[in-house]
Point group: C2
């Protein structure tokens, strides 16, 4: 192609000048153009990222407004502590060391009261202990002559820092004073080393400790007075919510299996969400542990005393996770490729649904017990109901076995087997999915009893009161059981009609 | 009882004096005695606690000597940074701000390289950013008149602290710059506020940044040169170990069920430990996530490049947890109260054991693939083997179904059913446990394929090499499969003889 006939690729910008003629705007070519493009790309990319970030931030804020309150609390505490710089009399009192108060507020202010208290206590104790020890070591070092002083100080820093670091690696110590050990190392090396130069050691120690106490007291005041979030309360609610989620998952799991083309199609999305609820239980171990850990630092609040048995909540959580593992296995049954024979499904649906509904009622009642902190005698009733449902399911499974040898069917069983006569030609492969589901359901019922035991232990150690309106509740629950039975029967009949 | 005839309760201490007579040592009574007892109790209690602590510490140290090395490293880094105080020329260079270097070492030094780098980067960036911003705000505030200056400063502290705190609550930001945001708040409030009093603001900022850089460089040098522990390498090993544990659990689970009174009685404790291996997989989610998070800060090391796909390890971990849920259900089958009929066990044991052993071989081969970072074509062979074992198990299950209707048994099936002729009187209830176990085993095989996919994706994105000695390995693996089949046949025969 000749150079004169180059085809101009791209858009041509033309501007009409006042006299009617038009001028072509020559685009900035080469380097400038490329740079502009890169910059434009960068800016739009950055803007998009910022926009996405803000959108996510808004979603987080809308989802949990307490996070926004926490941010405001941090700002508030910091602004108050800044007053020490701005106001002459306060500044004169603590001098340049006011920075320690600012630093304390920044590092100890956490979302929950328990965590803040844990950090405050650790900071104060670590600072005190390390300060005393450092002064002692300093006194000893100063007696050992000018030549050995740095050696003694260096060796003590090395040894104590190593020992304190090691104590942080011990899991049981970690939960109690991990932060304190860090503050210990920090203060010790700081005081021991700067003591070698700064001669007003006691003044320094006094100022540092008083500023830290100012900072921690301010944090404690703000965190406990402005919309406090208690670790213990959070743990309590988490356990209650997880129980409800477990019950929902179990319900949806069973009904979806036996009632696949059923009425619940328009609320399918909601059901999907409920079905996934057990995953929250599976993944909440770390949260539960840290909350229980911080909960024990909290003073009496709401329904909870100072020494509320938070550890017991962990046991409840662990037993719930055991149930959740089974529900996971159950949910894989739903998605299994091996389809079960409809006739077997029909035969077992009633008792399976009864087991799942009575199990979920038991879990819900446990959630209610934990939530209201009132002992409930209905739990025993519901567990009894659950066990009799399990028994019924086992009988139904047994009645299937007469299919193997119809000749052994006793007279009284004839009636029961009548309805499954049609299934005698069903291959065992089509039994297996339902049978597996049934035995997982039975296992879940067994595991729920472990949850019941854990909750009862909590009720004992936390001295739950006895529910006053027990009797009305008992009759209500009996009505509920009857109505649920009718509902299940209805479903089963509908299934048999299909 | 008369006061003169009081029976002396407790031990009487007598001392024989030189002249042969003896004197009764009257015990210190009342308050002194009680106090002594309390003190003695306290001291012995404390001594016992210290002793237990030391014992636990020793166990931790013996279990993982790298923890001790980490402690020594912390001590070393702190001692080196202390030199800034002890040595005149260095001290003159940075002055009293040397404490920032000490503080940096204490707070950023973590056990793994990744975590230390993360904290170093965050500390440096957070300090820089906040410093610049604070100086800017300070300049603006100083222009607004003496009266408004504290107001502007206070408002800026409030707003920026709240915003930075909010960014810490965003999960995706948290993993990337949680620590940096805290340092940002700290530095900003510190510089902005003290700038109001300290007029040599730039000097302060310069010294603070240089000391922080000294501290972080020292940390990076010590952590990377003295026995470095890499987060990435740790994650890599954790995944490999977890795979091996999963395979062990699966093996022990199946053999224990089918070979309860078998030969492995004297190594029972070891088998118990192996059986519990899957629990490590269940509980390692948080560890995996934090390691993957820190791994991306690490430079190229060992077999890993800078941008090694650590996130992919999380996917492998998640798919392994799905297997572990099933193994949990499997292990509950072992402890189930419903005993299965021995005849059914015998009939299915061979194919069940084959599924479990081929599944565990597949997992072990995956572990080997990840460990050596070499693609292996044997995995496909083993997965094929696993699938054919699953097919065989399904056929065996199907063959059970002919028990329902012996009349439909085709000629070619007669031979197969011959061996289970005796079971025709077995009630279905005694089928259920084995059938449940079998279907869980099949589900495990399905989930292992998800692990295979995840590992293959890793092999793709991390560009694993192709194994050179593949052919010798293939023939080896074929021999192994044959020998395992012989072993299982032996076990089955032994079982049938019982």
């Amino acid at each position: 192609m000749s150079p004169g006939k180059e085809v101009f690729k791209g858009v041509e910008w033309r501007i009409r000048v006042a006299d009617g003629s038009s001028e072509v705007l020559v685009p900035a070519t080469g380097f400038a153009r490329k740079t502009w493009r890169v910059i434009k790309g960068l800016i739009s990319g950055l803007a998009l990222k910022v926009w996405m970030f803000l959108k996510r931030a808004w979603a987080i804020a809308a989802n949990d407004p307490r996070k926004v309150i926490h941010c405001i609390k941090v700002g508030l505490a910091l602004t108050i502590v800044s007053l020490f710089y701005f106001m002459r009399p306060l500044y004169d009192g603590v001098g340049r060391n006011a920075m320690w108060a600012v630093m304390t507020v920044v590092v100890v202010f956490e979302p929950t009261v328990g965590e803040t208290l844990y950090k405050c206590m650790n900071r104060v104790c670590g600072t005190f202990l390390a300060g005393f020890l450092a002064v002692g070591v300093h006194w000893f070092a100063s007696r050992s002559g000018e030549r050995f002083e740095p050696l003694v100080m260096g060796a003590s820093v090395f040894l104590l820092a190593s020992a304190a670091t090691f104590s942080r690696l011990n899991p049981s110590a970690k939960s109690l004073f991990d932060y304190g050990a860090m503050i210990f190392i920090l203060t010790f090396s700081f005081v021991a080393v700067s003591g070698y130069r700064v001669h007003k050691l006691f003044d320094l120690a006094h100022q540092r400790i008083s500023t830290i106490i100012i900072g921690t007291s301010l944090c404690i005041l703000v965190i406990m007075l402005v919309c406090p979030i208690w670790s213990g309360q959070e743990l309590h609610s988490l356990i209650v919510h997880n129980m409800d989620k477990l019950a929902d998952s179990l319900d949806v799991c069973a009904t979806r299996y036996f009632n696949h083309s059923g009425e619940c199609t328009n609320s399918n999305e909601e059901a999907d969400k409920k079905l996934q609820g057990y995953k929250c239980v599976l993944s909440s171990k770390a949260t539960e542990e840290s909350m229980a850990n911080f909960g024990r630092w909290e003073p009496s609040h709401g329904q909870f005393n100072f020494r509320h048995p938070w550890k017991q909540y962990l046991k409840i959580g662990a037993s719930m996770r055991c149930c959740a593992y089974c529900i996971e296995a159950l949910s894989s049954c739903i998605n299994s490729e091996n389809k079960a024979a409809e006739s077997i499904k029909k035969h077992l649906s009633s008792s399976c649904l009864k087991v799942s509904s009575s199990s979920s009622s038991a879990i819900r009642e446990l959630a209610e017990t934990v939530k209201t902190m009132k002992k409930s005698s209905i739990v025993d009733l519901l567990v009894g109901e659950m066990n009799s449902a399990v028994q019924e399911l086992q009988n139904d499974l047994k009645s299937l076995s007469y299919l193997l040898n119809p000749s052994t069917t006793p007279e009284k069983k004839k009636l029961e087997t009548a309805c499954i006569e049609a299934t005698t030609t069903v291959p065992l492969m089509e039994f297996i999915p339902v049978v597996t589901l049934a035995s997982i359901l039975i296992e879940i019922a067994v595991r729920i009893e472990a949850v019941v035991d854990a909750v009862e232990e909590l009720a004992k150690s936390a001295e739950f009161r006895i529910d006053d309106d027990d009797k009305s509740k008992q009759s209500k629950i009996k009505d509920k059981i009857v109505s649920e039975e009718e509902k299940i029967e209805g479903t089963t009949k509908a299934l048999q009609r299909v």
